[in-house]
């Protein structure tokens, strides 16, 4: 089992390296000298040349790449062109906001998704089931920005319950978390329902009932325990996705997180910052996938033994 995890870990590292390479190449393909772009149209050639040297852009690409990777390993992603601060520092402060948002959104998504999924499965084909599944499909299909704007319009503007934007207070995170979690809540609910329905047909559910477990006990101790396997995988992947920056939600609610940083990097033509945020996100997604995979192996004794 340990060997298996090590192999997967190695694979994850390789994929991450590949991702770094891909981002690096993509951002170097862009025609034009970033230094020139940075200095504006009317800059002196001498100034541009000096800037080019300062940024290390005069060196061959492979040297730049090695420099970059070596720096990234030490946690140094260069200095942001537009904000003038180290990228790692910018990302660190942004990440705390993203972290709060992602955790709240996940908590919302899991709570709502799991509970409504269970209810829908247990009361299959009832009005509640149809209602929950309809709403969840709406959740899956609703663009995040749409959800965000509708929430903003009603709860901030009309009802004035929550602040429109910003993260000065904890309350400022609630609407963004709901807007962001809405989507995942829908997919979690659908997954919980379909898995649970399958599992409730299993023979060991009959066994549990034959033992004298009440419905609640059967549902929680036997059915949910088995149904959680795929759900946990999905949740881990979703969480890593949210952590890697909710671009739209953060932009709409003006939350200084990783996603908004990436948008700022693009509008400011800030290659180090963009490179840093994208790589950071990729690392989180890869980590999330790895953890989900490993978690599955830990939780399911059948796979554990085969491995």
């Amino acid at each position: 089992m340990l060997r298996n995890i090590l192999i997967r870990l190695l694979q994850a590292v390789l994929v991450l390296l590949g991702a770094a390479l891909l981002v690096f190449i993509m951002l170097r393909i862009i025609p034009g000298n970033p230094a020139a772009v940075l200095m504006g149209e009317h800059a002196d050639t001498a100034v541009i040349e000096k800037m080019t040297k300062e940024l290390g852009l005069d060196q061959p690409v492979h040297v730049q790449l090695i420099h970059y990777l070596a720096g990234a390993l030490r946690g140094d992603f260069g200095t942001s062109y537009s904000l003038g601060k180290p990228v790692s520092q910018l990302m660190a402060s942004a990440f705390s906001n993203t972290l709060i948002l992602a955790l709240m959104a996940s908590a919302f998504a899991w709570l709502v998704g799991i509970i409504s999924g269970i209810i829908a499965a247990v009361k299959k084909n009832s009005i509640l089931d149809h209602l929950f599944m309809g709403v969840s499909l709406l959740g899956v299909s609703m663009p995040v920005f749409m959800a965000a704007m509708v929430l903003q319009f009603f709860f901030s503007y009309k009802l004035k319950i929550f602040p429109i934007a910003g993260t000065q207070s904890f309350a400022g995170f609630i609407l963004p978390a709901v807007a962001l979690g809405w989507n995942s809540a829908g997919s979690v609910a659908r997954l919980v329902r379909s898995t649970l329905l399958e599992i409730l047909e299993e023979d060991y559910i009959d066994t549990a009932r034959a033992k004298g477990r009440r419905q609640m006990g059967v549902l929680i101790l036997h059915a949910m325990r088995n149904a959680m396997l795929p759900v946990i995988t999905m949740m881990a992947i979703q969480l890593s996705g949210m952590l890697s920056g909710a671009v739209l939600t953060e932009t709409i609610f003006s939350i200084n997180g990783i996603g908004r940083l990436a948008v700022q990097a693009i509008t400011g033509r800030d290659i180090p910052l963009l490179q840093g945020t994208v790589l950071f996100s990729a690392a989180l997604v890869i980590l999330g996938n790895f953890l989900a995979d490993s978690l599955y192996h830990v939780l399911d004794p059948r796979i554990r033994k085969e491995a």
């Binding site: 694979q11 390789l14 994929v15 991450l16 590949g18 991702a19 891909l22 981002v23 993509m26 951002l27 393909i29 862009i30 499909l137 709406l138 899956v140 299909s141 609703m142 663009p143 995040v144 920005f145 749409m146 704007m149 509708v150 903003q152 319009f153 503007y157 997954l191 379909s194 795929p230 996705g241 890697s244 920056g245 671009v247 739209l248 932009t251 996603g259 990436a262 948008v263 693009i266 509008t267 963009l274 945020t277 994208v278 996100s281 990729a282 997604v285 890869i286 996938n289």
Partner: protein, 323 residues
Amino acid sequence: MKLPNRSRQIAEEFEKRQQEQENKQQESKQQANREYLKNQIAEEETFFTLIRRLARENKLAVVSFFVILLIILGAVLAPILAPYSFSDMDLLHRLNPPGAQHLLGTDEAGRDILTRLLYGARVSLLTGVVPTVMSMVIGAILGVISGSYGGWLDALIMRLADIMLAFPSMLLAMVIMYMLGDGLINVFLTLALVNWASVARIVRAQALQLKKTEYVEAARVIGVSRTKIMFRHLLPNCLPTLIVLFTLNVPSAILTESSLSFLGLGLQPPAASWGLMVNAGRQYLYMAPWVSLVPGAAIMVCVLAFNFLGDGLRDVLDPHLRK
């Protein structure tokens, strides 16, 4: 006397064996052909009965099908249906609420929202369909190559897919858009590049499964070339999966495009996609919520319809794809 006799015997036996082998080959070839034909017929049967089965099992999917048809019709007939001109501004009637004159109100420049919605449907549908077709073609070909060749080629393609899937799709789209620059074609390219990897993975998995079926084995035994097996046997049998994937990937492409446009990173005005319209109306959200919420709702309805249809098709065509 004995020797020539013996050699004749051997020769005869050899001939007989050869004959037998040939017969066997003929037989297996015929069998493969029959199998293939049978498969083909089964395929057509499902195709003909598909709609009926869909109608019986999932009415919502059929309704969605007609909703999509309606949207397509609206987009195609936009010049005829639209009550106003696409770009005529009417500064006297800015941000008018929905009413008799403007069914869905007017935007910040006094343009009729219904009109723009119809024209916007063209762009949004195109950005849904074109890149999806592109990504399906790329993904299907790479996936089937990966599945049938195996070895280092498989490893290469799959690791590449892993890398593509390591990025959050929104961020990846943003970076590619940044790399390529603005423009409709670049939006297409971006969305295609973002989505091919998941298609390739699914097709590969299916190709691996199909490779083990008897009729593919039979085809290989009689010496059908690998390329032929790939395009004659593997790909056509992935078709149901691909159809389902198509209906599920179109809405996600539409969503990604509208999100990009919403951030101002996708299409640029004066093009009109639904996402752009939402973005433009965003600053008037409190004064005139319809300006952004109406196109937002349009995106939602369209995506919802595709998702319903995809769900329905999946149940009918490919129950294994269900997660």
